[in-house]
């Protein structure tokens, strides 16, 4: 096994997982909501991009630019009309409603698109690679990783250097007092979910171009996203990137030893990290 190549692939795969996780991390950080339909929303976005590419004959990246505001709208509507009703001290409603949503999304997509595997074509980028020293690195995995870094950079700037970001952090601390500042928590949550869905669209592009997808692969992506967030530590976006990289590396190393062990290796790494660092690597001090 070529260690250098395997680890590099793992790091780059981590970028994809960090993209899956970034939206989840943002939403949980602000409103303590875990959306069990998150993975299925990624799949929904992938189908959206596929439809845009197929019917409008677009380059996938152009399709992404169109898909992002659409997904923002989906997130905004979802939060405003469904998820905002579930927020409160009881943990059951958001869990059960998003679980139901996951079932509805998967089966809705199955009805419309059937269980056939699809893939978003990316032309020559599919197989393009560049050489770094003695290693060959795919262009798409590199793009994925740098997109993940860019997304997290932008999110951090948003959270810490803008008025909206201040409103997000204040609302997450104390929604009632935030109201006294003129912040309307429900609208803030809707914007946050909208942003999360826009990020989901980015993740969907890289998921859909990298490998085949079908309506049922959502839950597995949710689990990877969740594992990345928890390993990184709740409340830290850079931590989410680190968590994604750990997961990616565990999977590629496990997979290099035995292809059947790839996914299992990721789960085992997750369990091990949690046993030794129950709050992840970079937990927020206040929670």
């Amino acid at each position: 096994m070529n260690w250098a190549d395997t680890i590099l692939q793992g790091v780059l795969l981590g970028g994809l997982y960090a993209l899956f996780a970034a939206g989840l991390s943002l939403v949980f950080g602000i409103m303590r909501l875990v959306n069990l339909a998150h993975g299925d929303l990624i799949v929904l976005a992938a189908y959206l991009i596929l439809v845009l590419v197929d019917t409008l004959n677009l380059n996938p990246f152009i399709a992404l630019v169109i898909a992002m505001p659409i997904m923002f709208g989906v997130g905004w509507l979802l939060q405003t009309y469904v998820l905002n009703r579930t927020l409160g001290p009881d943990i059951l409603p958001p869990l059960l409603v998003t679980f139901g949503l996951s079932v509805v999304l998967q089966n809705g997509l199955l009805q419309v698109y059937s269980a056939d595997s699809r893939r978003i074509p990316s032309g020559y980028l599919d197989t393009a690679s560049i050489s770094i020293g003695s290693l060959h690195v795919g262009v798409m995995p590199l793009l994925t990783f740098f997109s993940a870094v860019a997304v997290i950079l932008i999110l951090n700037r948003l959270l810490y250097a803008t008025e909206l970001g201040r409103a997000f952090r204040a609302t997450s601390d104390d929604a009632v007092t935030a109201g006294l500042m003129g912040i309307q928590p429900n609208r803030t949550f809707a914007i946050a979910t909208g942003i999360a869905m826009a990020i989901v669209a980015v993740a969907a592009l890289y998921l859909g171009t990298r490998s085949n997808f079908d309506p049922t692969i959502g839950p597995a992506r949710l689990i990877y996203a969740f594992e990345a967030v928890i390993m990184g530590g709740l409340g830290s976006l850079w931590g989410t990137l680190v968590g994604g990289i750990i997961l990616g590396m565990a999977q590629t190393i496990g997979g290099a030893i035995n292809p059947e062990w790839q996914i299992l290796a990721g789960h085992i790494a997750f369990v091990l990290v949690l046993l030794f660092r129950p709050r992840g690597f970079f937990p927020r001090a206040v929670d």
């Binding site: 008025e163 204040a170 104390d174 935030a178 109201g179 006294l180 500042m181 003129g182 912040i183 206040v286």
Partner: protein
């Protein structure tokens, strides 16, 4: 016409009634004090006015407008800012960010800005980048007041400013009040400490068990009357 007035204000926490028809008036430029024991309904009154609690629309009038049924963000935008009980600073924000967030819902120009708030409470400028809650109780109270001032409110509601603070710190905080009055804000202060209330207020209301039991100018009220109104006639 009074700036802010309540008419037969009632308030409920689910089935529990906390206010039984409270009438309070605040004229422009006045400083009002509301005193009473724990559970008298003072904080409930503040929460009702600021919109944290929703009441009957015409039970609270601001500039003659019915605002009783409005929620906090809308009340705040009209110019009524609250310094909540227990300070309630945002731990995820720095001192300066806590101040800035006070302008989120109402970015009106006026005498109060970061600069003038720092002049009122110089210690905060030194600590501007510290997390909001990494300050002493008295300094946190200053941040909370500054945060409310940032929206250049017409009415400032102060709920239990002196709770948990040492007397010398309380003095320092109330020392800032003349500057606040001069800037044109009308103030309502909720206090358990009657002496302090008498010192700063133009008029005083006493509450007990959800009702107003006494009102008047400090000069007109004697200790015995206040004592009776505070604790109840028999005690």
């Amino acid at each position: 016409m009074a700036l802010l007035e309540t008419h037969g204000l009632t308030a409920f926490y689910r089935d529990f009634q906390a206010l039984f028809g409270v009438d309070v008036t605040l004229d422009a430029g006045e400083t009002l004090a509301i005193v009473g024991a724990n559970g008298a309904g003072k904080s409930t009154l503040m929460r009702s006015i600021s919109g944290v609690l929703i009441n009957g629309a015409r039970q609270i009038l601001f500039d003659g407008r019915p605002i009783g049924a409005l929620a906090a963000p809308q009340v705040m935008a009209l110019g009524i800012a609250m310094v909540p009980e227990g300070r309630k600073l945002f731990p995820s924000l720095s001192v300066e960010e806590n101040l800035l967030i006070g302008r989120y819902g109402r970015a009106t120009k006026g005498p109060w800005s970061l600069e003038t708030v720092y002049r009122l409470f110089p210690i905060l400028k030194e600590r501007r980048n510290n997390p909001g809650t990494a300050l002493s109780g008295g300094q946190q109270q200053m941040v909370a007041i500054g945060r409310a001032l940032m929206s250049n409110p017409r009415v400032l509601l102060c709920d239990e400013l002196s709770l948990g603070l040492a007397p010398v710190v309380i003095r320092d905080i109330y020392a800032a009040f003349p500057a606040i009055r001069e800037s044109g804000a009308s103030i309502v202060v909720v206090e358990q400490d009657i002496g302090q209330a008498m010192k700063i207020a133009d008029r005083l209301y006493c509450m007990m068990e959800g009702r107003v039991t006494l009102s008047g100018r400090p000069s007109e009220l004697n200790r015995a009357a206040i004592h009776a109104a505070y604790f109840g006639a028999d005690s």
